[in-house]
Amino acid sequence: MTEDIQARAERLRQDIRRFCRDLPADLRSKSQRHQVLDKDDYLQWMRLLQAQGWAVGHWPREHGGLAWSPLERFVFEDELARHGCPWVIPFGVKYVGPVIYAFGSAAQQQRFLPKIVNNEEFWAQGYSEPEAGSDLAALRTTAVRDGDHYIVNGQKVWTTYAHWADWLFCLVRTGREARPQDSISFLLIDMKSPGVTVKEIRTMDGYHHVNEVWLEDVRVPVANLVGEEGGGWTYAKYLLKNERTAGASIGMAWHALHRLRELAQEQGPDGGRPIDSPLLSNRIGSLELRYLALEKAAYRAVGAMMDGTENGGEASLIKLRGTELYQDIAESLVDLLGAAGIAYDPAALHSAGLPPLGPDDAGGIIKDHFYNRAATVFGGSSEIQRNIIAKAVLGL
């Protein structure tokens, strides 16, 4: 890794810090308290990033990006998350955009990329199905050719923010090849098409993040097929590779650890501070040490990606350690809240009201604790990540 690349990444980090200091007050307050953000909040947020050019900073310049190195991309995600910023919704800028500029037709690139760059269209991801979670190759949604259209039938599940989406990128089965992977294709589906139904799945934090998407005789123009019929598996793998750096999980862990220590240092009504308990102090220290190990390993992994010395396990390592650490920090935060850690008012999180007990962000902390149990499942479960390392790296 050259010093030049490092210097650029450092400059980016400084820029992000300034940017975070200057966030609009309402967005800042909501995200600091882990309130629930609605679609307008997210659109505002994505437009702020876009104004800096950052939302697609990792894209090539010819498509409007800044041609970031993996290191800059990592720093970008890490630093935003450290400040407790909202999620950088990835479906357009991180997932489907790169697939379109890498494999889409010129017409598709012209039609879709500018609206992703400018946040004019909201995307969702149609991958998982009820019977095809970790084994995507088992997916059953079919797309049958009928003249200039495909007729799509099937059901997707865990579709984040499908209820806000204008478009769905979707893996479908277009044939019956011997290897199930070989008959998967990558389709772009207009969510306003007749036959598309979005059904809410409420999660245990009491909110509506994810959905079922039912596709019943949905007519999709053949022009919305990305690349070749049967090429979907290749594009999906490209997408996953592109998803890799996952700096956000590290930044999120830092943010939560910071809050944990802050809360532990607050004086209680009896004058004592929780941190003065050697056991709690050791618990926090142990989490901080896991953080340190993760951070150092993650930068090594990014370095390997840039040097081309990857062994294929880097992304899994970061995801495993990052998500498991974050969950443990979240559990510690809830425990530290004591009675306030089991008092929950979802409505207050929507209306920016106060939680029934504890500090202003108590409700947000509990919400994150709930929803982030999914972090070790979504995007390839911890079990799958371990299988990947066992096979790809250890040859077992």
């Binding site: 019977e131 999660t203 245990m204 008092a343 007990l357």
Partner: protein
């Protein structure tokens, strides 16, 4: 006095039958989140079956139930995630009244507790800025996090008199200001404010009240252990069934050895929890030091176990595990409240650690601890 085996066995059958038939996950979903946050019909049924009177002496229509019999009810509360104020009223409130109430107070309240027309709650957690002080029959102060304080007809409050002695007193719901909310598991709770509220004293101030409070909190800990065991047993059964049913890559996910071994670790925690629950139920009548060692040990171990089992169960269910629609997420949230209510795990671990198991020579140890 210990409840005999046949009585417990019959109670267990009756509780299982009723909750299986009338407290399925969908029945419960219809109750959850709507006022009053529990099922008044189930509450009446519990009263009709005599479950709210379990602790009462036989002369008052009860069976003088011991902790093991109460545990049957609490285990069912964990297995089926019952929302009714069993712990707050039928276990804690009733126990405090029985142990500290005057003859007149017992006569006044026991029948109404037995028939379910009065529900109690126990307020023990002071707001540090407004500790509860009882003076001449009037109570001032704030209590936080009172389980079922939102629906209790009367609240038993741990307070101090002007001399600084511990006292127990009882306040009618109409005489206090309640700020109600839900716990993460959907049960109701409240922060309570007393502004010169009429409060009748229960029992004696000073050490007697302190002892009664300590015992009540230990009873709560033991009851929570039984409830936790119910949650664990349900999650082990549910997760085991899911691993057999759910297929991935063409075979049930339960054929994956890594998941099998993790299921075994959950099962080991289940078996240990059950044994610790039994042990803790048997020490409630012992002197405080002996009681606390086993009760706090059980509470710390079982509290950690139920959290761990809940984490694993959610993980094994994949995306489904975090949905509101599936029971697993509700057990997960119940595990959080169990591990936190009436004094969290760290407190009990510290209490256990302070009592050495092994400081004595072997020859001084109790014999066959069954």
């Amino acid at each position: 006095m210990s409840t005999d085996h046949d009585t417990i066995s019959m109670l267990r059958d009756a509780v299982q039958r009723y909750t299986n038939d009338h407290y399925g996950f969908l029945d419960r979903a219809g109750v959850l989140g709507r006022a009053p946050g529990f099922s008044p019909r189930a509450w009446r049924d519990y009263a009709d079956f005599g479950w709210l009177a379990l602790r009462l002496p036989e002369d008052d229509g009860g069976i003088d139930a011991d902790a093991a019999a109460i545990g049957v009810l609490m285990e069912a509360a964990g297995r089926r995630l019952l929302l009714e104020p069993l712990l707050a009223s039928a276990v804690l409130g009733t126990g405090l009244l029985l142990r500290t109430g005057s003859a007149a107070q017992r006569q006044a309240w026991l029948p109404q507790l037995a028939d379910g027309s009065v529900k109690l709650a126990f307020a023990h957690q002071d707001d540090a800025n407004a500790p509860c002080v009882w003076r001449d029959g009037l109570l001032d102060g704030v209590k936080t996090g009172v389980l079922h304080g939102d629906v209790a007809d009367r609240v038993i409050v741990a307070a101090r008199n002007p001399a600084g002695d511990a006292v127990l007193c009882m306040v009618a719901a109409g005489d206090l200001a309640a700020s109600s909310y839900r716990l993460v598991d959907g049960r109701g709770a409240a922060n309570l404010r007393f502004d010169g509220a009429r409060a009748e004293m229960l029992g004696q101030p000073g050490q007697p009240a302190q002892d009664a409070i300590a015992l009540a909190l230990d009873e709560a800990a033991v009851a929570l252990c039984a409830e936790a065991y119910g949650v664990i047993a349900s999650l082990v059964a549910i997760s085991g069934a899911y691993l057999k049913m759910r297929k991935q890559f063409g075979k049930p996910i339960g054929t994956n050895q890594a998941l099998q071994h993790r299921m075994v670790d959950m099962y080991l925690l289940q078996e240990e929890s059950r044994a610790l629950v039994n042990a803790a139920q048997q020490v409630l009548a012992l002197p405080r030091a002996e009681r606390e060692r086993v009760v706090s040990g059980a509470r710390a171990y079982v509290g950690a176990a139920v959290r761990r089992v809940a984490n694993e169960a959610v993980q094994m269910h994949g995306g489904l595990g975090i949905t509101e629609e599936l029971d697993v997420s509700h057990y997960f949230r119940r595990a959080m409240t169990i591990d936190s209510l009436f004094g969290g795990r760290d407190l009990h671990m510290a209490r256990f650690t302070a009592h050495s198991l092994t400081a004595d020579q072997p020859g001084e140890q109790p014999c066959v601890p069954m």
